[in-house]
Symmetry: C2
Subunit: 431 residues, 2 copies
């Protein structure tokens, strides 16, 4: 019903007219309303949107069919088509994602701390929405509903810019969600979808100063470079994950095999998968021989020592380029190191600051590794694959930050907020 409401609303102006700046202004206006909207209203709107998505599955699937047909005709790779393709189950999952957001605690209004100054001035530091959160993303239509929901829950208007390849799916999804917001009594511009996904419009988008409070680019290295080059709006980078597992001499070898195999093969296409194995020279022979069968499907590229152990047929020579690469594939770089110091040094040189793991039973080495490795997540005796909003228990995630300012690691609702200082006085002045 919400969806039919969206259609009754006629053409969605956000999509059919207006410059980027106009769209930003509309999101900004909606964000002002949203900043003062009680949590219960936001949750009701999320629930309505969840129901509306499932109820509009036919329309969404029809729109998605157009995108998929265009992709296939355009010779796009099977992986990309798979990310693009929706079915009823995926739409249900988008809906349940919105419902589960509704059940999380509202981050807005949390008093982080508060104190009274000697002059009697009371100060509180309070969590407030950022305002307008913009997301640039690629061919995954589910990001449209995920990002819209995370933004609404955290009190932010969402300004979303998907890719041209998913334009029909994204528009259909956005239309349904906007209708649900409207029927819940919220401004439909709490979600503004940008209907010009041409590359030419990216730089203008990146310069909507005063209208975008936080930009989250979700894409490959070239998008990140474009953002760094052109953006004048504030942004948080969801960057590469060139993750390492270092197996110390003291490691339980069975545990090490399980962790390395999991980190590399459980889902190789994601940013928290491991790309390089570092192994202590003292146990390299035993570990690699034990690990080899578990990595049967994995191409290995190693240094001289690892090639000597597993054979030059099994292990191709690794270059610095290999050590620097996020393969996102069933490929693993291998290096035999003299100890934890060399492992930390290698990670300092090649790591991307995402997730680094050590397998060890030595307390000093565990502590030193966690202390000295500079990454969003530093793991002792577990897989790198746990760096994830859901695995962390955040309930939701809009990305994983590899930068240090504002947000580091999985970004949940908290990272979509800022703070405001509230000062309460009785006439205090400075002397």
């Amino acid at each position: 019903m919400a969806a039919s409401g969206a259609r009754r609303g006629g053409s969605l102006a956000c999509m059919s007219s207006g410059t980027l700046r106009d769209l930003g202004l509309r999101a900004k206006a909606a964000s002002r309303v949203l900043a003062s909207t009680p949590g219960g209203c936001k949750d009701a709107a999320l629930d309505k949107a969840a129901v509306a998505l499932v109820g509009s599955a036919d329309e969404i699937l029809a729109a998605n069919g157009t995108d998929v047909a265009n992709a296939v005709a355009g010779g796009v790779s099977a992986t990309v088509v798979d990310r693009l393709r929706l079915d009823e189950k995926r739409i249900e999952s988008m809906g349940s994602g919105l419902s589960s957001l509704a059940s999380l605690a509202d981050p807005v209004g949390e008093v982080l701390d508060g104190w009274v100054r000697p002059n009697g001035l009371a100060i509180r530091r309070v969590r407030v929405p950022l305002g307008v959160v913009a997301v640039i993303y690629e061919n995954r239509p589910n990001v449209t509903s995920d990002a819209a929901g995370l933004c609404l829950k955290s009190g932010n208007a969402a300004l979303l810019r998907g890719s041209s390849g998913a334009i029909h799916s994204n528009k259909a999804i956005a239309e349904v969600i906007r209708g649900a917001y409207r029927s819940a009594g919220l401004p439909e511009d709490c979600l503004v979808f940008v209907d010009d996904p041409t590359r030419e419009s990216v730089p203008e988008f990146l310069r909507l100063d005063g209208l975008i409070d936080c930009l989250i680019p979700r894409g490959g290295r070239s998008l990140i470079e474009t953002v760094k080059e052109h953006a004048t709006v504030p942004y948080v980078i969801d960057g590469d994950g060139n993750c390492h597992v270092y197996v110390d001499a003291s490691a339980d070898l069975d545990m090490a095999v399980a962790i390395v195999a999991n980190a590399k093969t459980q889902r190789p296409s994601v940013c928290n998968a491991a790309e390089t194995l570092l192994v202590h020279a003292d146990i390299a022979q035993r570990l690699l021989e034990k690990l080899d069968p578990a990595l049967e499907s994995v191409e290995l590229r190693g240094d001289r020592a690892s090639r000597a152990i597993l054979g030059e047929n099994r292990v191709a020579p690794a270059t610095d380029e290999d050590y620097a690469t996020e393969f996102l594939d069933l490929i693993l770089s291998v290096k035999v190191v003299a100890g934890v110091a060399e492992a930390i040094e290698h990670i300092g040189r090649f790591g991307s600051g995402h997730t680094e793991a050590i397998v060890t039973s030595d307390l000093d080495n565990a502590r030193r590794f966690q202390q000295e490795v500079d990454a969003a997540a530093v793991v002792v005796n577990a897989s790198t694959r746990f760096t994830d909003g859901e695995q962390f228990g955040f309930g939701a995630e809009i990305g994983i930050s590899t930068q240090k300012l504002h947000a580091r690691g999985p970004m949940g609702l908290r990272e979509l907020t800022t703070v405001k200082y509230l000062l309460d006085g009785t006439g205090q002045v400075r002397t």
Copy 2:
């Protein structure tokens, strides 16, 4: 003694050679050592630097004399010369600033929160240094020691770039502090001073990706614009303060007069001084007449209503440009408004997100103002002048952020850190 140690060290290579990139690499290397340095060592180095500054006052004053003479010869304004000029008292104050930093709690290592996941994986969120903090600043030599001290205390290497007008003073101060660090057993490159303050080198500085973890530009609007245009390194903007005081119909008029006068005149040249008075129409006449004598030294620029009340000779006509301007001078814009809604709207249009104040005795209006005004600090019944690290009780301040990401409002030691997730497992893998 520490200072003579610095001189014994011979030429300070950081200042006499090396590209900007080399300087960044040296700061980065020092930051790795500093990240694992116990708080006691950092505090000892700060105390040594404090003693060394005072002990080297003669050399520093001699160097400062050169800068002051050049400034005077160059026809620089008296205000700028005053900011530039050091004396024994100012050097003592720089030293006591470093000593007082030593007495503050170490922010590094604080466990912000921690929890255990259902699979037994323990997660801690821990405060860690950013790495290298770069500061670009203008003709205030005390910033060299203040920024160096704040960075050291928070475990960051400082990469400082002052202006050409203070180059001799800054070099002398940096040399003394580096010597003190060395004599305390820390890398002298915990402070790297950039000896090329030409405008041409700014863009290169702003693109030291991977070497600068956080840039803090402290300067006027043109510096901020340059940073937004060229920076590819992460930055936090210490921006303008176009601050307002809104006097509600329910305000205690004596309190309102005291607050407005304090906010405007106590120190008009700083960012938390008020620039615009908004006053409710119902009390405009009484308030303005009562306020007028307290603002004797202040030029007023107002709307039609305020000019009718105080006379067209007393109040010049205000333009939108006036309402948008941070005067930093004894000038105040005035506007009579219909109520809190119009005040909030005016602030939304012209405010810079720094500090906004309401004087009221009406609880609803106080709450609404704090809720709806989007600024770093929103004040009820006190002067805008309290938005300041020292006034907040932070013990120190490196600037006041007017942006929303990472830091908002006064930036103390906490804002010079980031977090790291430490995961402790017993062999957990993802299924």
